[in-house]
Symmetry: C2
Subunit: 137 residues, 2 copies
């Protein structure tokens, strides 16, 4: 099957769930995922991988607990990128909502390898496949 380009806007319009990433494409053994987020995620850490964030729309803040810098918060306006280093506890938050794009190894859990209790509004997953529209339809 040949692949076609995917519009991120259309892909984002194909689902409504918050904090529940969709896999838009794969690059070797990495996923490119998109997610709609609003409110608070949870404190968690990925022990074996960095995690890349690109803000497609809205604004994301990420609270970080870093070995040297201690606890701080970074703000990502639309069109900005940030990589959370492996092992660093972090908590993404989007008070007014945001759409984000993530790069991370296939199989990476949204809640990391260690985390606080998972609230109901956060989907503990390795990402869902995007529901692809039929190009013949």
């Amino acid at each position: 099957m040949t692949q076609e380009p995917i519009s991120l806007d259309k892909a984002l319009a194909s689902f409504t769930e918050q904090w529940s990433p969709r896999i838009v494409t794969r690059v070797n053994d990495y996923d490119v995922r998109i997610a709609k987020v609003e409110g608070e995620h949870l404190w968690h850490a990925h022990e074996h991988t960095d995690e890349f964030f690109l803000v497609i729309d809205g604004e994301l803040t990420i609270a970080l607990r870093e070995p040297e810098a201690g606890e701080r918060t970074v703000t990502l306006p639309k069109g900005s990128v940030f990589t959370v280093p492996r092992g660093v506890e972090h908590k993404p938050t989007a008070p007014s909502g945001a759409s984000i794009l993530l790069f991370e190894p296939t199989g990476t859990l949204t809640v990391g390898d260690r985390h606080e209790e998972v609230p109901d509004h956060v989907d503990a997953t390795t990402g869902h496949d995007l529901a692809v529209e039929d190009p013949e339809a």
Copy 2:
């Protein structure tokens, strides 16, 4: 040193060279690169890696020579993504110019592992570091 979020607009404004990717951040052993492109790249293939494209601005077309589908061209408007599978010869073109984001293993050559003659306007490189502005300035 702590990392700060990077604005893609500011990063793109920090250089003028065409077809000469800048590395904005690293994710494990992968680079996130951005490039300004206008006109034609060259036919090339990456034997050992897929290559991910996201169009930040403008429009990119990618000519492909695929084993089954043969030669075809995909068009990526602003805000769309596409992954060129490993081994597939491809030639990106942007007649009216575009800004793109790439995700690929650190060390990946812009001209691939096999390619036609490299024209003067294409930078054969594994990416350049972004000239980072001093946050204290």
